[in-house]
Amino acid sequence: MDAAVEGQAEAKLHGSAIMAAIKASGVQFILSVPDIVTSAGLLRPIARDPDFRLVRVCKEDECIGIASGLSYYDQRALILIQYTGFLDSINAIRAVAVEYRQPICMMIGLLGHEPERAPTQSGRYGVRIMEPILDAMGIAHDLIGQDADVPRIKPAIDKAYAQSLPVAFLIGRRPLAP
C-alpha cells in the first residue's frame, strides 16, 4: 500500500465535527428524511441535541419549501437527505433554489460511494451523476469525505445566505457517531 492509499484508508469523518460546523454556521433547523449514510453519525445525535430543531419530513422536496419559508426571517436551515432524495427533488430545487435564488443548504449522503474514489468515478450510477447534475444546475458543491474537509462547511453556508444561493455538501463516507 502506498502512502496515498494508506492515508485515504485512515481518513476519518467525525459527526461531531460536522455538527460543530453546522452550529457555528448559525443553523438551527435541520430538515430531514433519514439517510443511512448519515443516520448514526449525524441524524441521531442531531435529534438528541437541544441546540437543533429537527423537522422530520415525509419526502425530501418538502424540505425545499420549508427552508425557503424559514429564510424569509433569516432563520437558517440545513437539509439532511440521501442523494436519491436529492434526485427526487430536482424540480423543486430547480425552481426554488436556482430560479428563485433561495439559500437552500443541502447535506447529501452518497449511499454506495467508495470513499477512495472521486464521486464521478464511483461504480454506483446514481453517485456518479451527482456532481455533473449539480454543475449543470449551477449549484455550488463540496465533497466532505474526511475531517479535513469540514472547515469548508461554515464559509459555504455563510456564502449561501449572504448571496441567497443554494449549496450542496456531498457526504462521501459514513460520519462516525459522537
Binding site: 419526502k59 424540505c63 419549501g65 420549508i66 419559508g69 424569509y72 426571517y73 428563485y100
Partner: protein
Amino acid sequence: MMKRDECFRILARHVTDEIVVASYSSAAEWNEVNPRVRNYFSVGAMGLASSHGLGLALGRPTQRVLVLDGDGSLLMNLGSLVTIGAAAPRNLVHFVCHNGTYEANGSHPLPNPDVDFSSIAKAAGYAQCHQFSELAAFEQRIGQVLGQDGPVFATLKVERSKPLTYDYPTLYAPEKRDALRAMLRAG
C-alpha cells in the same frame, strides 16, 4: 358549491397581517381579490405551498400564515399533511380549494375528484378540520376558523369563478419576494 372568487372576497375581509401562501389558480385569483405585499406565490413546484407555509409558520410562531392550496397540488404533497400534523404549528391555517380538477393544466379531473381532504388532514394530525360548500356557512364561521389554534385545515368546495389569466412572471416576480422579505425582516 361556492365560486372561488366569492369565497376569497369573504376571506379577504378577515385577513389583516397574515402571510398568505397561494398556488396556481388560487394564487391568480387571490392576487386579483387582494393584492398585497404579504402574499407569497413563489412556491416553485406543484404541491409545495403547504411546505413553504410550514417554514413561514415555524420561523416566527407569532406570525399567522394562511395557505391557499389547490387540490391537485395537495395531492402531489400529501405527506406534508403528516409533517405539518407532527410539527403542529399553532399559527398555520391550511385551506384547499377543492374543485376536483387540475384547473391550471386544462381542467382534467383528479384521479379521484371526491377525495376527502379534511378527513385525511384529521388523520394526519391537524388540530382542527373543517369543510365548507356554502358561502353563507363559510361567511358565518370563517372568523372563528382563522382564530383557532392550529394547525387548522379547511376544505373549500369551490367551482371555477371564471377563466383565469395565469401571469406567472408577475406572480413570481423577484420584486415580490424581496418586498415580502424586507417587510418580515423589519419585524
